[in-house]
């Protein structure tokens, strides 16, 4: 129970209404989710559209409250309204569309937004804004207007706006979904730096397998239930199970899987390109020697 986020038998459902406004039934989005997220980890949450992964993410900082069960953030129950700002300061959240997260017309004023809300002293705000902008490598753009920046840069500003609060955990809800490949790379590098260099717990909601493969732990959600929860190598060795719930595996893993099917003795735990290339190189040079 010492993790930064704990959920116990979390159930979330919403009511369905007909045209007359009468309740006709309930739609259960999350079903008995029990999770324990350790501080300092890098957790990826995978699932196809409508699996409930975004709904789950919104429970991590009290945006949504459980219908049944409990969510504890650093030991605080998310239904405790008096401490909602402590919760939101502990767990920051970054969304998909960077344009819809930026409030101010100047980069540094936007990064300062959360601190202004918290009533931090102006001098301290200045210090923390500069620090946050340097962490995401956007310090040179501090006086630009958001609309002059690229998508990846805007998303990094949105991340800076969260880390200025100095949260212990950041939940990212598909932060790369609207970005081009270059922006995606920038964001993944930023996420990894936050996790490895600054010790911030990262929960990355994504449907890009290559991104999930970089995490320490992957949780696969399907129809509101936890389907798999393990290290990426183990998760992606379950190629058939993942495919059956409409998910893919990283391309390297897919290649190994196809090779195995056609009779080559390929390992099932290869998830990144380098490992894959090394294996193929060994395989081919062995053949040549024979």
């Amino acid at each position: 129970m010492e993790g930064i986020i704990n959920t116990e038998n979390l159930i979330f459902e919403y009511s369905i209404y007909d045209e007359n406004g009468d309740e006709t039934g309930k739609n259960r989005v999350l079903e008995n989710i029990t999770l324990d997220i350790k501080e300092g980890g890098f957790v990826a949450v995978l699932g196809h559209n409508g699996s409930g992964k975004s709904t789950l993410a919104k429970h991590f900082n009290g945006i949504l409250l459980p219908t049944e069960g409990k969510v504890l953030i650093d030991g605080i129950d998310s239904t405790d309204e008096s401490r909602i700002y402590d919760i939101r300061q502990t767990v920051g959240m970054v969304f998909q569309n960077p344009d819809n997260q930026i409030v101010a017309t100047i980069v540094e004023e936007d990064v300062a937004f959360a601190l202004e809300n918290l009533g931090v002293e102006p001098k301290e705000i200045r210090r923390r804004v500069d620090e946050a902008l340097k962490i995401v490598d956007m310090y040179h753009y501090r006086e630009h207007a958001p609309h002059q920046l690229s998508g990846g840069q805007k998303q990094r500003i949105a991340i800076a706006g969260i880390i200025a609060m100095r949260p212990r955990c950041i939940v990212m809800d598909e932060p790369t979904a609207m970005l081009d490949p270059k922006g995606r790379k920038e964001i993944m590098a930023t996420i990894k730096a936050l996790n490895k260099e600054h010790g911030i717990t990262v929960i990355l909601i994504t449907h890009y397998m290559e991104e999930a493969a970089q995490a320490d732990r992957v949780i696969v959600i399907d129809k509101g239930k936890i389907l798999l929860d393990d290290v990426p190598k183990k998760i992606f060795s379950e190629v058939e199970l993942l495919k059956s719930v409409g998910l893919d595996v990283p391309q390297a893993t897919e290649l190994m899987y196809d090779l195995r099917k056609s009779g080559v003795d390929a390992p099932s735990d290869i998830i990144d390109v380098d490992e894959c290339a090394e294996f193929l190189f060994r395989l081919l040079s062995d053949k040549e020697q024979k």
Binding site: M93, N100, Q101, V103, E116, G119, P122, G161
Partner: protein
Amino acid sequence: MLKDITIGQFFPGNSIVHRLDSRFKIILDILYVVMLFVAGNFYSLAVAGVFMLIIYMLSNISFRLIFKSLRPIFPIILFTCLLNLFFIKGEGEPVISFGFINIYMEGLTTSLFMTIRIVFLIIGMSLLTYTTSPIALTDAIESLFSPLKKIHFPVHELAMMMTIALRFIPTLIEETDKIMAAQKARGANLDTGGLIKKAKALVPVLIPLFVSAFKRANELALAMECRCYRGGEGRTRIKQLKSGVKDYIALVIFAVVLAGVILLNIYIPILGL
């Protein structure tokens, strides 16, 4: 094409006029309007005009912009001018008589006077927007109106709304461009036809724009909540508005010129000029 629209006509710079506290600039601008309306004769009006020209020179704003700011309100100036010209009846003989139209000497002077006053008014007001960024203006308005919080006037909320509107103008313009391109690609005809036809053709552009604006608002509210937004209470700002010696000096100069204008008003008629 739509991207070329400039909102607020701010020209960044580092002149003394740019660096004045935006709250003071608003107050000084109001003082200038007062000055123009107090000015009762051509002499005092001339003083106000010269004063404005000196400030323009200090601000390093090109004089061409003066004409640019006047262009859109030219019809109003013309209307005022003609109205005064034709409808003021003097005591003496009409200077020009053309059928039922009689133009008197008084009409001529009043119309000239009014025109000059409006021109100065516009020039003075546009100097404020030329030298002050929209954000600084918003902050100044929030600060100047803050006493109204006592009577529960939502000052902070209004300022926040203005900031968000300013923030989203470029985003929505870009989106409008995209939607227009998309609708054109589907055969929408947006450029031809009369005014009514054109207005009707805009409906398929406006509906998706509205839907998307609502979606954006929803997401933005969520993001703001995640960043602990809870209204204006107990909020601090990264940039404090600071007033210094220069702002008070500017205020004194304005007060002196205003006094001069009032004196001219009183003494010129006495001297019989």
